[in-house]
Every structure is written in C-alpha cells, then in structure tokens.
C-alpha cells in the first residue's frame, strides 16, 4: 500500500482535487455516484471474452477528467497500480485457456489472451471510475449522497469520522514510524517486538483521543443524534447528466459500439 507518508499525501491530493469548482464539481453528488454505479455495473457485467466492446467505455473517464480538470497523469499513475495485480490474476488465463477463440487475419488468438486483456481493461476502467468519482466529488460528499440514497446513518457517520481522522492518524503513524526508523539499523529494531509496542502506544493514544473527542462532543450538547445539513439540490442538470450517461452506458453494453464504429468506417471506406 505504499509508505505511510505517501498515503497521507495521496489523501490530501485527492481531497484537494475535490475542491475544484468546475461544472462537474458543482453537480449534486448523488448524480455522480449513480452514474458511476451504472458505469461500473455495465463494465463488470460483460462476458469474459468481450474486449472491443469495452473500449468505448473509456469515453466516460476521459470526458469527466477533462471537464473536472483532474490531472490525467496523476490519475493514470494511481490506476496503474491496479494493473500488476490484474496481470498476475489474468496471467493464468492464457495458460489454462488455450482454445483458439478468434482469427484475426492469419493470427489465431486463444481465448485465454482475450480474457486476460479483458480483465486488465475492466480493472482499469472500474478503478479509474472510482478514483475520478472521488476526485470530482470528495469523499465526505459521497458519503452524504449515499446516506441520502439509503445508506444507514450510523455507517455514514462512521465513514465521515474515519476519513476525518485518517489525516490525523496517518500523520501520527508516520511520526512514530520515522522515530523507529531513525533508531533501527538494517532490520534490527524493526522486528515484531518493537512493532507490537509501537502499535500498542499508538493504540492507547488513539483511545485517549477518542475519549477527548467524546468530551468535546458532550461539551457541545451531544446526546447521540446527528443532524444533517441539506445542501445540494437535484436539479435539471443532474437529471440530464444522469440520464445521458446512463443511456449511453446501457446502449454500449447492449450493442458493441466498437463494432458499429468499425463497420461504419469500413463501410464508408469501401
């Protein structure tokens, strides 16, 4: 999962991206969450030998990244992390699945390779969609959207608290980890014993922090209930956004858009 400092920076970066003020950022988070869900469901529901049919789906991340002013290289870098694992998992397919599936010109391509690439493409698409969603919406807004759409409030509160304190805890964790680093040499000092002790201390401090937060909550009259603030409105723009993209995804799911484009092109050329 990378270093703790790196993760901390990642969070801050993604969080900051979400504060942009493009048109996409301004949309009600519910619309964005729903569109992403439709996207992911469409992509994931393809049969395993589909490949060309998946490619048109790249239009969604491309457009949203552009409209949302997200740094493409950054997103690509983060999504690329997904690829090695998909490779390892999918790598087995060409080994076990040797049956020739398609002839391209004079090339005989076994089904295993097709499903392999399909796996990788699907991983990239879904991971990308999730990251982009976070980048144009922000995690807290996503949680509140989910809550409005039916997620239990207790879980939404948990997610919000978790997110909020990840910033604090990763910082503490990196400080503690660095302190240990500076006093260890090679692998000495980094064994299980010091790890257990390090975590124990961190855990205790975390527990005490929880008590102080609780104190602060009580001091401001908390009696167990959280009151939500109703900010966003689901207006015409959101409906257009939602219906537009969903229709496109469903269409591309049911009809191979690559096929259509290709036929069109070759038809014209002929």
């Amino acid at each position: 999962m990378g270093t703790i400092e790196g993760t901390f920076l990642d969070f801050k970066d993604l969080d900051r991206l979400a504060t942009g003020d493009t048109a996409i950022h301004g949309l009600d988070p519910r619309a964005k969450v729903l569109v992403t869900v439709v996207f992911i469901v469409s992509v994931v529901s393809f049969g395993r030998y589909e490949l060309t049919a998946l490619l048109p789906f790249f239009i969604f991340p491309a457009v949203i990244m552009a409209l949302g002013n997200l740094p493409v290289f950054y997103i690509v870098k983060k999504v690329a992390v997904v690829i090695p694992f998909a490779l390892v998992v999918g790598m087995l397919n060409p080994i076990f699945d040797r049956q020739v599936y398609v002839h391209v010109g004079t090339l005989d391509i076994p089904g295993g390779w097709i499903s392999f690439v399909s796996i990788v493409v699907r991983a990239v698409l879904t991971a990308g969609a999730a990251l982009i969603l976070v980048g144009v919406t922000g995690f807290p807004a996503i949680c509140m959207a989910l809550e409005k759409m039916g997620m239990p409030q207790a879980f939404a509160i948990q997610l919000l608290f978790l997110y909020r304190y990840i910033f604090v805890l990763t910082e503490e964790g990196s400080r503690v980890s660095r302190a240990r680093e500076l006093r260890s040499f090679g692998n000495r000092g980094k064994g299980m014993q010091s790890y257990g002790s390090l975590l124990g201390h961190l855990l205790l401090r975390t527990w005490q922090r929880a008590e102080r937060i609780h104190m602060a909550m009580l001091a401001r009259g908390f009696t167990g209930a959280f009151h939500a603030r109703h900010l966003y409105r689901f207006g015409r723009r959101e409906v257009v956004f939602l219906l537009g993209w969903s229709t496109l995804f469903i269409f591309m799911r049911l009809h191979n858009a690559s096929q259509l484009l290709g036929s069109l092109a070759t038809g014209i050329l002929r």
Partner: protein, 254 residues
C-alpha cells in the same frame, strides 16, 4: 439573580487509582471576570476545568454555575452556559466542514435551521474565519483551527468560556491574534495556561494551583510580583515582567 457566576466549594477529586487530583478547591468567579488558572503540570488545572461542565464529578464538594448546582439533571443546562475549549483543536473539530462543527452545538440544542445559520455566521465572523466555513478541518492551520474550535463553542452563546491552554503551539502572529480576540470577548473567562505573558495581557485575576490545592488567588499583578510563591509552585514571572533581557544577561555574567 446571583452575580456569582461560578462557584466552587471544597472540591475534592480522587481518581480511581487513588491519586488525589484536587484537594479542597474553593473560589468564586463573578460575571465578566477574566481569571487565569496557572500552575505546574499535574497541579490539577485540567481536572478542575472538567468539573466545571460536569464531565467529571467531585468526590466531595460542589460546583454551582449561575443559579444551578451542578447535578446530573442540570448538566445539560450547564453545558449550555459553560463553553469549554480543549487543548487540541483536532479533538473538537470532528465534522466534515468548519460550518458543520460550528453548527453542531446549536443543532444539538435544538434551534431551528435559520437560527442555527445566524448563530454560525455570527460566531465565524467573531473569530474572523467566515471564508473557511466550507473547509474541512484537516486543511486549516494551527491558528485557524483554534479559532474554529472557539467558534464552535461561542455559537452556543455561553455566558462563560473555559479554555485549556489556548495559546499552545501557535506561531507568534496567531498567538497575538488570539490574545486580541480574547480581550474582546465579553464573556466570563476561565483560562488554564502556562503562557504567563498572555495571562498578563488578558486576565486581571489569577488563581495559582499546586498539588491539587489553591495556593493563591488575587489580582494578576500582585501574584506575579510574589517571586517566592511563584518558585514554590514551579512558576516564574512572565517574561515581559522580567526586565530587559540584555541587562539581565549582563547581570548574570557579572
């Protein structure tokens, strides 16, 4: 209508492991006073503060806030009157945005949304951070966090402000801004702190604690002139009262 806003009498508190944190503390604070609570670490300042809004219960003695003796039934009412600001702002800013944190108190008190909005904007304006209202707390600087924490409490319009080490960790400018802010507050203020120079600037009265008991209680200037008392309680004069730093050094070298 009593003018004694906060009264503490014979307060004793013993922790579950037997340590006596407070050994018979008594004082009366009047409406509008700014009182500093100073003492060494472990003198019992924080423990005392936690009694003032009912988070801790005394082993004996009582606390009275306004007309209410502090009991389980009156705790909610007391917390409306006594606004407490803790040492670590990260512990108090737990909502997704500053606005949400400042609105947390009034919402819990049951005010309708328009009133909540009014209170929040007023509190934010008072501490000067309206422009930060939609920011999440982890993106604020130390000084901004402190001010947000203060705003989150004053939005409940407490009569009494209790603060635990408010100037810790602030850069000089942020600290100066905070001191200016505190001087402008018309609330009754009880401030536990090590920052004796801030005490000098903000509080006309000082209570000195040592080992769970009150050693002295009087005008700040008098207290800070009593060197023997100060050194007994592991304190010293505020730096601004210690004379010219250069001359002092020269005197020491001689």
């Amino acid at each position: 209508m009593s003018h004694h806003i906060v009264e503490v009498a014979g307060l004793q508190h013993v922790y579950s492991d037997g340590t006596a944190a407070l050994r018979g503390v008594s004082f009366r604070i009047l409406h509008g006073e700014s009182v500093a609570l100073v003492g060494a670490n472990g003198a019992g300042k924080s423990t005392l503060l936690l009694h003032l809004n009912g988070y801790l219960s005394p082993t004996s003695g009582f606390v009275r806030v306004g007309d209410f003796p502090l009991t389980r039934e009156t705790v909610t009412e007391v917390r409306r009157t006594v606004g407490m600001i803790f040492q670590d702002p990260d512990d108090q800013l737990f909502m997704p945005t500053v606005y949400d944190d400042v609105a947390f108190g009034p919402l819990n008190l049951g005010f309708p949304p328009d009133e909540v909005e009014q209170r929040v904007m007023k509190a934010l304006a008072t501490v000067g951070i309206e422009h930060l209202q939609d920011k999440p707390p982890y993106r604020l600087s130390g000084g901004e966090k402190r001010r947000a924490a203060i705003a989150s409490v004053i939005s409940m319009s407490p009569a009494i402000l209790v603060m635990d080490e408010p100037t810790t960790g602030l850069d000089p400018l942020a600290r100066r801004q905070l001191i200016t802010l505190m001087r402008e507050f018309r609330h009754t203020k009880i401030i536990a702190t090590h920052d004796l120079d801030m005490v000098f600037d903000v509080c006309e009265r000082t209570i000195v604690m040592h080992d769970g008991a009150v050693m002295a209680d009087g005008p700040t200037r008098e207290i800070f002139n009593d060197d023997r008392l100060l050194s007994e309680c592991r304190l010293e004069r505020p730096l601004s009262m210690q004379g010219c730093a250069v001359c002092r050094k020269r005197r020491q070298e001689i």
